[in-house]
Subunit: 216 residues, 2 copies
């Protein structure tokens, strides 16, 4: 395990007890998040665009259409910030003030580059497919040369990052514990299915595994 | 229904058939999203911070600790961008190239301000509580004067916005339809429970309604 050094850019200032800077914690959140939100600056205006990602080591990959604003921003090499968040539960306290949510979040800083070369692009596309549906790459038809040319892949090297998370029960004030108000956590999770098949082929192992995992 | 005029700032450039600019579509996505990602610029560096929100009309509300970087950025009146995304399903095509996701997303532009006055702050706090757990406000102990002083509420007036969404089956190439590869949509949804009670009080209507809705 290594850690990203807390600097003014990535330091969590509020509730520092919820903060983490080690790559293991941060990468687990990135990998568990199906989507991320990429922030960049254009003419002084911030833009935040939701997109899919994949991580290989300390590199984040993004893909899109050539010429999209997001892909051009990543390829330009400018400073970026990428945000990830997973909502794990609603925390209902006896007081409105102590209502909260259980969550895992990560904020990542770095700058981007265009990924070039057929082999590197293929590796990134495999990472995208495997991120959301492990095993899918080997089940489906691989990209053709024309499809590869129609896809832009960009990468961001993670320079700095932090995680912030909350778990556990509500933090009610001792004076409120006798109030006749229910309190507790309402856990939230992602459930998958029922399938909407577009094919009479058997449901493949990748999809079966996801259904099994997400309905557990 | 009114619409936000497409301008260079909010115009969806890629796959414009997936774009919408009407407030009804955009507000429904904002209201369905439990979290958002707020982008701002500090010393030329973009920051994107995940947080909770509530919407009242064309106003977005945020809350946090006084002095947090996010709250200070919103209160400063600088240009902001807020991103919302809901993942509705994985779209598994016969080809890797046509793999996609079904989603609803919105990107909002505006500038922020501090919310002042006890009545206005209380109204915003009620909107936060009702956003994630409708009915909860009347079940729990309301904020005390000291708690109100410990909470900062900021608002953003939505000046410009766009939505982008995808739904429906995979868009396989006709030439791929005979491949022996399963294709279809794996719907994803948020499931709630089982409850982790921190109280021997009965489960209140707000929580019962959420469980009923999210397990359906």
């Amino acid at each position: 395990m290594t850690a990203f050094e807390p600097t003014p850019r990535n330091k969590v200032r509020r509730l520092p007890s919820r903060a983490a800077y080690d790559d293991k914690t941060i990468y687990a959140i990135i990998d568990a998040a199906p989507l991320c939100h990429v922030g960049f600056v254009s003419d002084g205006q911030p833009f935040v665009i939701p997109t899919q990602h994949a991580r290989v080591g300390s590199t984040l990959y993004f893909h899109g259409s050539p010429g999209s604003r997001l892909m051009r921003a990543i390829e330009s090499g400018q400073a970026l910030c990428v945000s990830f968040a997973l909502l794990d539960g609603l925390v209902a306290a006896r007081s409105i003030f102590h209502h909260s949510v259980n969550y895992r979040s990560a904020v990542v800083f770095g700058s981007g580059r265009k990924v070039e070369g057929e082999e590197q692009i293929l590796a990134a596309l495999r990472a995208f497919a495997e991120h959301v549906l492990p095993g899918r790459w080997d089940e489906a038809r691989p990209p053709s040369p024309a499809e590869l040319r129609a896809t832009t892949v960009a990468a961001l090297e993670i320079e700095s990052a932090s995680a912030k998370q909350r778990s556990g029960p509500p933090g009610d004030d001792p004076a409120d514990l006798e109030l006749p108000v229910w309190s507790g956590v309402i856990p939230l999770r992602t459930a998958a299915g029922p399938l909407e098949s577009d094919s009479d082929q058997p449901v493949p192992p990748s999809v079966q595994a996801l259904l099994k995992q997400q309905s557990a």
